[in-house]
Structures are given as C-alpha cells and as structure tokens.
C-alpha cells in the first residue's frame, strides 16, 4: 500500500509536471489548429527559455526576471522563425513543416551547445518555502507552476472567446478562406499565434528550469511526452491538450511510485488505447486537411 504522504506529494508532482506539459504543448496544438503545421521547434523555445532563465538569474540573481526574459526571448525567436521560414512552407504539405521544424530543433540544440556548452546548468529555486497539505510538506514553487498553468489556460480561453483577434483565430481554425474573405489579414493572425506559442513554450522552460538541470538535450528529452500529450488530447484542441497534459503528468508521477522505468512507458500505452478507440484523440475534431 502506498503511503499517504507519498501519494499527496506524488499528486502534486504530477500536477506540476502536467502544468509544464500543458504550457509546452499548447503552442504545438494552437499552431496545428490554425496553420495546419506541426511545429516541433516549440521544444527549442522551451530549451531557449530555460537557458535564458539560467543566464539572467545567474547574472542578476532574480530568477523571476530570468523567467520573464526567457519568455520574451522565446516569443522573439518564434517571431523571427515564423517570418523567415514558416512563411515559405504554409502552403506546403504537412510533412514539410514537420521536417523543417525538426531541422530547426536539431540546429537550435547545436547552437545551444555552441553557446552554453555541454555541461548541465543548475538554476536556483526562487521560492524555497513549503506548505502543509494534508500533513505533507509541499514546495510552494510547484503550486506556483500549477497556478501558472491554470492562469494561462484561463487567459487563452478569454483571449480566444472575448477578444476580436482571438475570435478571428477561432474562425481561422474553422475555415481560413472565409476569414480571408472577410478582409482579415490571416498571415498577421498566424504571426500572433506563433508568438503566443513560442512565448508559452519558453515560459514552460523557464518555470521548469529550477526543478531540473538545464542541459542541451532537454528539448529532445520531452519530445515523446509532448507528442503523446497532443495526440491523446487531439491535435488543435486546447481543452484536449489541457486534459491530457494533466493525465500524462499524473500517470508519469504516480506510475513512478509503483515502478519507475515503466512509468515513462505508460503514457505510450494510454496513447495506443486512446487511438484505438478514437483515432483523432480525446477532443480532436475529425476534420481533414483544409
């Protein structure tokens, strides 16, 4: 029988892991929904965010400033990549965006190795205090991460449902030609979406940095989880990503209490089962290519 303290901390750990997964993959999901591209370079912005957080917090000793700067740098990098590369491949087959972005991810990892070197870098935890939940001491920082994910989810929901640009993006997810016909500049919408995606991925990296060692391979390490989250949730669905991120987070966290090596494999089994029942993921729409 699993001890109650272990269970509580396991659940909190899973929730924070799920929050990071959500922030990391929501960009992937948004980009697929609107632009029909698979943007694997989100994982590059994730690593970039973590590294900028490391550099800034090392220089100024303010971790939060580092997280903020990381998010901004991630957004800017995403904007540059969108302008320089994605403009040329929106019209192409989905294969092309996938391989191109994969190339960018690999090249970016090479660049990170070149700039920051191969050694893993530590980032200090900004809040070291712990709080008592059901008799178990839980680090407040993990609760902050969970809060951040919920705030981002609410923010995205408000943005997509209450603002004009957000409504245009939602309309674009349904039918891009009609939105263009209404005189809305779709390419500007694409750029906005991409910047949001890059910022959120970098934010995930920055927030996660204090809990792990920042190393060049971190983007590739989470690659499989990022995919499994978006596939289980359904590509293009924000709600699906939110649900499946927490599902995968819990499975990994609670599974590792039972048997650590297999915990990493369990999401894959869940993915196979979900795909067997519903080939488009939990909340994925059955729509084909536009």
């Amino acid at each position: 029988m699993i001890d109650a303290h272990l269970l509580t901390s396991g659940i909190i750990f899973g929730l924070s892991l799920g929050s990071i997964f959500f922030l990391m993959t929501v960009g992937l999901s948004l980009c697929f929904g609107l632009m029909r591209i698979i943007s694997l370079d989100q994982l590059l912005y994730y690593s970039l965010g973590a590294y900028v957080t490391y550099s800034i917090s090392h220089a100024t000793s303010y971790v939060w400033l580092g997280v903020l700067a990381g998010a901004v740098v991630g957004g800017l990098a995403a904007f540059a990549v969108e302008r320089l590369l994605y403009r040329r491949i929106y019209e192409r087959d989905i294969t092309f965006s996938m391989i191109t972005s994969f190339g960018m991810l690999i090249a970016g990892i090479g660049a990170i190795k070149y700039i920051w070197g191969l050694t893993p870098r530590p980032v200090s935890v900004p809040i070291t205090a712990e709080v008592d939940i059901l008799g178990t001491l839980v680090p407040i920082y993990r609760l902050v991460i969970i809060g951040a994910a919920f705030v981002v989810y609410a923010g995205i929901w408000l943005f997509l449902n209450r603002t004009m640009v957000g409504k245009a993006i939602r309309a674009g997810i349904e039918n891009v030609e009609h939105v263009e016909g209404l005189g809305i500049n779709v390419y500007r919408l694409f750029a906005v979406t991409f910047i949001i995606a890059g910022t959120l991925s970098a934010l995930a990296g920055g927030l996660y940095a204090p809990l792990i060692m920042v190393d060049p391979q971190m983007g590739l390490d989470v690659l499989a989880f990022a995919f499994m989250v978006v596939i289980i949730g359904g590509l293009g669905s924000i709600k699906g990503t939110f649900v499946s991120a927490f599902l995968v987070g819990q499975v990994v966290s609670l599974g590792s209490l039972a048997y650590a090596p297999l915990a990493q494999m369990a999401p894959f089994a869940i993915m196979l089962v979900v795909l067997l029942v519903k080939p488009t993921g939990l909340y994925g729409s059955p729509l084909l290519k536009r």
Binding site: I38, I106, I109, Q264, F268
Partner: protein, 325 residues
C-alpha cells in the same frame, strides 16, 4: 527486349555503385548501401502510399537489436542473425501496424516519432538487462566465419550488401509495376475512390507498412553485423528525420532516389564531421535547406534529363512509372 529494359536500370545502377567502391573508401561504400536500404522503405511509404514515416529508427533499432541479441546470447552465424533481425522487424511492424494505419497522416507521423523515442528509451533504460544500456552489445568477436561470403570482413560484406540491395531494389521495382503498387498509389491519391472500387485500403496500407518496415529492420540487422556493435545511439531522436531527409533529398517516390540521396547525405555528413564537431547544427541546417529547396530532389530533377539524353526518342516516350509529386 522488354525483360532487358526491366533489368537494365537496376544492373547499371548497381554496376555504378560497385564502381563507387574503387573510387571511395570501403567503409563509406558500405555505409551508403546500408543507408539506402534503410531509406527505401521510407521512400516507398512517402512516395507511393502517402504515409509520412517519422519513426523509421524504431524499426531500424528493432532489427539491429534482434540481430545483436541473437548473436550475443545464442548463436554465432551472422546470416541467421540477419534473418532474426528481419523476423523481429516483421513481428514489430505486424504488432503496431494495425493501430497505426488507421490514423490520419499527421497523427501517423507523430505517433511514429513517439514510437522511435520510446524505443530509444526502452533500449537505453528499461531493457538494460538485455541491451546493456548505453554500453551496447559488442558482437564483433562472436561472428563466426562463414564459407562463401565471410561477413566479418568488410570487403566481402560489401559484396553481400550489394547483392541484398540489388534484391531489395528488384523487389521494389516489381512492387511498383504490380497491381498492388498501383493500389498503393491510389491509396495515396484518392482513398475514397479506391474504397469505392472495392479494395480494402487499410489492408493495402498495412501491407505497405509491414513491407517497408521489414526492409528497414533488414538495414538495421545489416548495421549490427557490419559494425559488430549496437547501442541506443542507433535510434537517437536527433537522427529520427534522417531517412525522410534522404528520401526528399534524393527525390520522393523515385526508384534510385534513395541511393543518390544516401551517397550525397553520407558524403556531406562525413565532410562536415571532419571540419566541425557540432554535427547537430549541421544536420539541422541541411535539413531546413533541403526542405526549402523543393520537392523533386536530386534524382527527381536528373532522371527525366538522363532519360532524354540516354534513350532514343522512341524509347524515351514511354511514360515514367511510379509516383511523382
């Protein structure tokens, strides 16, 4: 005449490949042949069936590890080892195939890539008792000498690899010309019409998936025997896009594209690794540029011109079979 035409291209291509050995070092030639076998499955899936297979390293690793574990734990005959690798690849693709071929193109690509990462993780961390983790399986001392072609010697391995590659290419050429090949192409272009004509499109895709991934496992088995060593590096996520890139570099759906692509790509990597240690940066940039350059690839651009130049006008009017994008 017709039979000769059928073989002419194949024989001349592999004749050229044999000549390559005289010009370039042996390890390079061996690498190129194995790499092109590795790529042809992906080329078939992408160019003829319309499936983006991002997970080829998974099947490569299955083939390599099946061969290596047989040679490490049970026998010493490399031929039997390669057969075990092919059988392993067949079993693995039969196991995951029914799940995967139901999926839409984009999901198929992502799930396959996830599978590649999972296999990497399995070989590195979970099945350590069998795979020895990052240390890998060293089988080079265990290969027994075989009478006709001794696979433990690189120059005889080259002959063997060339023969296998020839057989694989003849098989894929036969597939292209058969009714089944036409069905695959139809599944790529319009699956609704194919279904309407009474064909089982999932069955067709499943068969294509199994054929292609078994070929990839064969390449993995040959890697294991050739290098005498297998480690999780073989399915490293950083190299997951390699077969796709070589396919697109060579020309999607063309018969000789994989060979041309493998020669160019392997050559590029060899040169690059001489000048820089940071190979990830180079692979990434090459990938992006290959993607931006276009869809036809090297062989796809060269082939029509070569045909026009080499064949008489009458023979040149024969329509080019196979897929074109």
């Amino acid at each position: 005449m017709n039979a000769f035409r059928w073989w002419r291209g194949l024989v001349s291509a592999f004749g050229l490949l044999y000549l390559l050995r005289l010009l370039l070092p042996l390890p390079f030639a061996n690498e190129v042949i194995i790499f092109s076998i590795y790529t042809i499955g992906c080329n078939f899936l992408l160019g003829h069936v319309g499936l983006i297979s991002f997970g080829q390293p998974a099947y490569l690793a299955v083939g390599a590890y099946a061969t290596a574990s047989y040679l490490y734990y049970f026998g010493t005959n490399p031929y039997v080892g390669i057969l075990m690798g092919v059988a392993g690849g067949l079993a693995a693709s039969l196991f995951v195939g029914p799940f995967f071929v139901r999926l839409r193109g984009d999901y198929f690509a992502l799930v396959n890539l996830a599978l590649a990462v999972i296999v990497f993780y399995l070989t590195q961390n979970v099945l350590v008792a069998i795979t020895h983790g990052d240390n890998g399986l060293l089988i080079v001392d265990r290969l027994s000498r075989t009478p006709v072609l001794d696979l433990s010697r690189p120059n005889q391995f080259f002959i063997f690899a060339l023969l296998i590659a020839f057989a694989v290419w003849a098989f894929y050429k036969y597939l292209d010309d058969s009714i089944y090949g036409a069905c695959c192409l139809a599944a790529k272009i319009n699956e609704n019409k194919l279904r309407f004509l009474g064909y089982d499109d999932r069955g067709i895709r499943l068969l294509a998936f199994v054929i292609a991934n078994t070929t990839t496992a064969l390449a993995g088995a040959m890697y294991a025997v050739y290098l005498g060593f297998v480690s999780p590096e073989i399915t490293s996520p950083a190299r997951a896009a390699d077969p796709l890139v070589v396919t697109i570099l060579g020309g999607v759906g063309t018969l000789y594209g994989p060979i041309v692509g493998a020669v160019v790509y392997t050559g590029m990597m060899d040169l690059a690794s001489k000048f820089m240690s940071n190979w990830e940066l180079i692979i990434g940039i090459v990938l992006v540029f290959v993607m931006l350059a276009g869809e036809k690839g090297i062989w796809g651009t060269l082939e029509p011109r070569l045909k026009r130049a080499l064949l008489s006008p009458a023979a040149g009017s024969r329509p080019i079979k196979g897929a074109s994008r």
